[in-house]
């Protein structure tokens, strides 16, 4: 298990190194000089040159790459071209919204999907299964921003239980902030849970047809005992894959939901940075997202090994 983890860790580091090179290269070939963009079209050439020197744009490419990577490693992401504030600070502010939102949404999605999927699988072909499958079909078909608007309409405008958007800040109190994240989390979670429930159901149904489930029944386990003791852990492997993918998506893919609820999250930050050609911010945020995707994959790999002994012994 330790060897397996170390190997996965090594592959994580290599992936990160490759990703950082690719991101740097792509941003480099993007047209437009940030310095002249910042100073406007009427800027004097020597002013532009001075700014380029200040931003470090006059260094050679390898030098800039090394400076960027070593900076990131020490927590220095550089200074935003447009806002003139440290990028690390900007990302940290947004992260405090996006990360809790993603975890919140993923927790909700899992809490809805597991029981729904297990329930549907255990009543295959019966009314309960058909109802759950119908609901998930709807969950996948309807876009999440429509859910979001409906939630706002019902719970914020009509019932006035929640505010329609905005974020008070964690310093105003944990529960207040969680409350502000609730509607966005639900709208993010619903479509995800619909997908997850279907995966859970089909994975369980595959497992229920396996020979070892018959062995379990022949031992004297009831249908329910066999499902919980032998079925669930085996069915979890494909489900973990989807959960990993969903987390990465939720972290950065919530831009529309962030817009609907006026949340200053990572999605909006990257959108603004791209429009303003704030390359250093784009670079850093993309790198951070890549890091989170790779980290989540690493955690999913560890979870696989925890679930399946066959992976542990395969070195």
């Amino acid at each position: 298990m330790l060897r397996y983890s170390l190997k996965r860790l090594l592959s994580l580091v290599i992936s990160l190194a490759v990703a950082s090179l690719v991101i740097f290269a792509v941003i480099e070939v993007a047209p437009g000089d940030p310095a002249s963009f910042m100073l406007g079209i009427n800027a004097q050439p020597d002013t532009v040159a001075a700014l380029r020197a200040e931003l470090g744009l006059d260094m050679s490419k390898p030098q800039r790459y090394v400076a960027w990577v070593t900076g990131m490693l020490s927590g220095d992401f550089g200074t935003s071209y447009t806002y003139r504030t440290p990028v690390a600070q900007m990302i940290a502010d947004r992260m405090w919204i996006s990360l809790p939102l993603a975890i919140y949404a993923l927790t909700l999605s899992t809490l809805i999907a597991f029981p729904a999927g297990i329930y549907a699988a255990s009543r295959r072909g019966k009314g309960g299964d058909v109802a759950v499958m119908g609901a998930t079909q709807l969950g996948i078909a309807v876009p999440n921003f429509w859910f979001a608007m409906m939630l706002v309409l019902i719970f914020a405008i009509n019932l006035r239980w929640f505010s329609a958007g905005g974020f008070p800040g964690w310093d105003k109190g944990f529960w207040l902030s969680m409350k502000a994240l609730t509607l966005p989390a639900i709208s993010l979670a619903l479509p995800q849970s619909a997908i997850l429930a279907r995966v859970m159901r089909s994975s369980l149904l595959d497992i229920l047809g396996e020979d070892f489930m018959r062995t379990a029944r022949a031992k004297g386990l009831t249908r329910r005992q066999a499902l919980w003791r032998h079925g669930l852990r085996n069915a979890l492997i494909p489900v973990l894959t989807i959960i990993g993918l969903q987390f990465s998506f939720l972290l950065a893919g919530g831009i529309i939901i962030e817009q609907v609820f006026f949340l200053p999250g990572l999605g909006r930050l990257i959108f603004q940075a791209i429009s303003a050609r704030d390359l250093i911010v784009v670079e850093s945020v993309v790198m951070l997202l890549v890091f989170s995707v790779i980290l989540v994959n690493f955690l999913v790999d560890l979870a696989y090994a925890a679930v399946d002994p066959r992976l542990r012994s395969r070195t």
Binding site: F212, R214, R217, A218, K219, Q225, N234, D308, P309
Partner: protein, 535 residues
């Protein structure tokens, strides 16, 4: 009162009648074999005793275990009986165990759900039971997972968990069908010992008459959901009142009429010192690569018109050798030449068209979305000018009639055919471009005995008509004995013995060949039984 008493059992699932008026009984300490071909209802009889039938199943009649009518019990009561009073062992040891739980936990679970035994105590009992079935804890700790064991070892675990509560009745559904002959012999011996030691009744389900002939006290022969004949083993073999029993017996020991070997010394296939290595995963990052030698210095020749058998147990390198002969994988040493030209993954289509293959699985080896005509003409793409139009149709019709099908079958899809017919189609696909050599890779292993006999006859017929040369790979010694002129015995990547089939079987030289032949189950000699009866 017998231990198990099945009376007039009828089973239907939906509108299909699966079992019709089945009656049989098993006593304490008695081994009763239920035999028959696929679809005969033998497994369903077992599942009816376990009461593990699909929801749509409808049962009538009576199944009494130690005086209790199982059909009248509710599900909760049945759960207390399963594993406790009736244990069951299944065919596929590779998949019958939960891959994510240790063997100790899986055996102990049977004990834990049926008694208030503390967990540590249950683990101890599990260890004892595993030791009893031949997996002592010092070599096979309870913390092993199923994937760390071989097929035979897994089947021992399945047996251990089935008998952990010392049930009165053990049901074994084709327990050795997926195993090698030597492993099969060991498992059968183990089952016999356990029956006499625990005084269990054993219901042994198998398609293989030879397996049960020297093991079962009584035999029940089933066909189409009905019991056609049952009786004490020796008496049943001696008399065989029902024609189906006789047909089954004849098919099991079927001897084909193989045409004489055409003379002609020209070799079709020459394998010289073939070596095939597989790289093993690195144990450390910069450790030198380790290799597994799957085929080790193998040499043999197949002459024109010769029928050669290749026998050996799983993992001996048969399939690896086959892939090398077909030019699907390269060699690490030695050479293979077909018709004087070297065989390799890069060989040209003309050479490839001379080597065709028929695989084991009649269900998995066809694309279900293609019609038969398209399936069997697939090898045509190897030809520089593939036949078209009427010529193509004629070739298709010829190939299909050669294998005992009709030209009209060309327009059908593969699901419309039975397993035996599919294997005929596979042979037609190999035959259609008149190959010099056909490789039959376990080509009859998945078939019922009567179908197997027909396919073997077909192969003999084709051999007569087209003077075929073939390499017949099988784990089944009796089949190889009847269908080949010469046999190669393979073990751990090497040919340990080769020679004229009859000589090798009658007088094996190598110790391994002797073991194999001794382990292979044989049908009783009827004439011998009859003589003894008169004494």
């Amino acid at each position: 009162m017998s231990l198990l008493e099945i009376q007039n059992l009828d089973l239907s699932i939906g509108s299909a009648r699966i079992l019709k008026d089945v009656s049989l009984s098993i006593d304490k300490g008695e081994i009763v074999a239920i035999t028959g071909e696929s679809g005969s209802g033998k497994s369903m009889t077992a599942m009816a005793v376990m009461q593990l039938l699909p929801d749509a199943a409808h049962l009538s009649g009576a199944v009494q275990l130690a005086g209790r009518d199982l059909l009248s019990l509710d599900e909760d009561t049945l759960c207390t009986l399963r594993g406790n009073e009736v244990g069951m062992v299944f065919q596929e040891p590779m998949t019958a165990l939960n891959p994510v739980k240790t063997i100790g936990a899986q055996v102990a679970e049977t004990i834990l759900i049926h008694s208030d035994t503390p967990k540590a105590e249950a683990m101890q009992q599990a260890a004892d039971m595993l030791a009893r079935v031949g997996l002592p804890a010092d070599r096979f700790p309870l913390s092993r997972y199923p994937h760390e064991l071989s097929g035979g070892q897994r089947q021992r675990v399945v047996i251990a968990l089935a008998i952990a509560q010392r049930p009165k009745l053990l049901i074994a559904d084709e327990p050795t069908t997926a195993l090698d002959v030597t492993t099969q012999a060991q498992i059968l011996d183990l089952l016999k010992e356990l029956v006499s030691e625990f005084g269990m009744g054993l219901m042994m389900i198998t398609h293989d008459l030879a397996v049960v002939s020297d093991m079962a006290d009584r035999i029940v022969v089933m066909r189409h959901g009905e019991v056609v004949e049952q009786g004490e083993t020796r008496a049943l073999f001696r008399d065989m009142k029902h024609p189906y029993t006789r047909a089954l017996f004849e098919a099991s020991g079927h001897q084909v009429d193989l045409p004489a070997l055409p003379d002609g010394p020209d070799p079709v296939l020459q394998v010289t010192g073939a070596v095939r290595d597989y790289a093993l995963p690195r144990t450390r990052l910069f450790a030198p690569r380790q290799f597994h030698r799957a085929v080790n210095d193998v040499s043999f020749t197949i002459h024109h018109g010769e029928r050669v058998g290749l026998v050996g147990e799983s993992g001996c390198g048969k399939s690896t050798l086959t892939r090398a002969i077909l030019g699907l994988e390269g060699l690490q040493g030695g050479s293979i030449t077909a018709f004087g030209k070297p065989v390799s993954p890069a060989m040209n289509p003309a050479l490839r068209s001379g080597l065709q293959v028929v695989f084991q699985d009649p269900y998995g080896s066809f694309n279900p979305r293609h019609k038969v005509a398209r399936i069997i003409t697939e090898p045509f793409h190897l030809l520089p000018n593939p036949p078209s139009g009427a010529d193509r149709d004629a070739r298709i019709a010829q190939a299909l009639t050669d294998v005992g099908l009709t030209a009209a079958d060309a327009d059908k899809y593969i699901h419309e055919f039975s397993g035996g017919q599919r294997q005929r189609i596979a042979i037609a696909r190999a035959l259609i471009i008149n190959p010099e050599l056909i490789i039959f890779d376990e080509a009859v292993s998945a078939l019922d005995v009567s179908i197997r006999a027909q396919i073997l006859d077909l192969i003999a017929d084709l051999s007569r008509k087209h003077s075929l040369s073939y390499l017949f790979i099988s784990h089944d010694l009796s089949v190889v004995r009847s269908i080949t002129d010469r046999v190669l015995v393979m073990k751990s990547g090497q040919i340990v013995e080769q020679g004229v089939t009859e000589d090798v079987f009658a007088n094996p030289q190598h110790a391994y060949t002797k073991t194999l032949i001794a382990a292979a189950p044989v049908l009783p000699d009827i004439s011998h039984l009859k003589e003894n009866a008169h004494v």
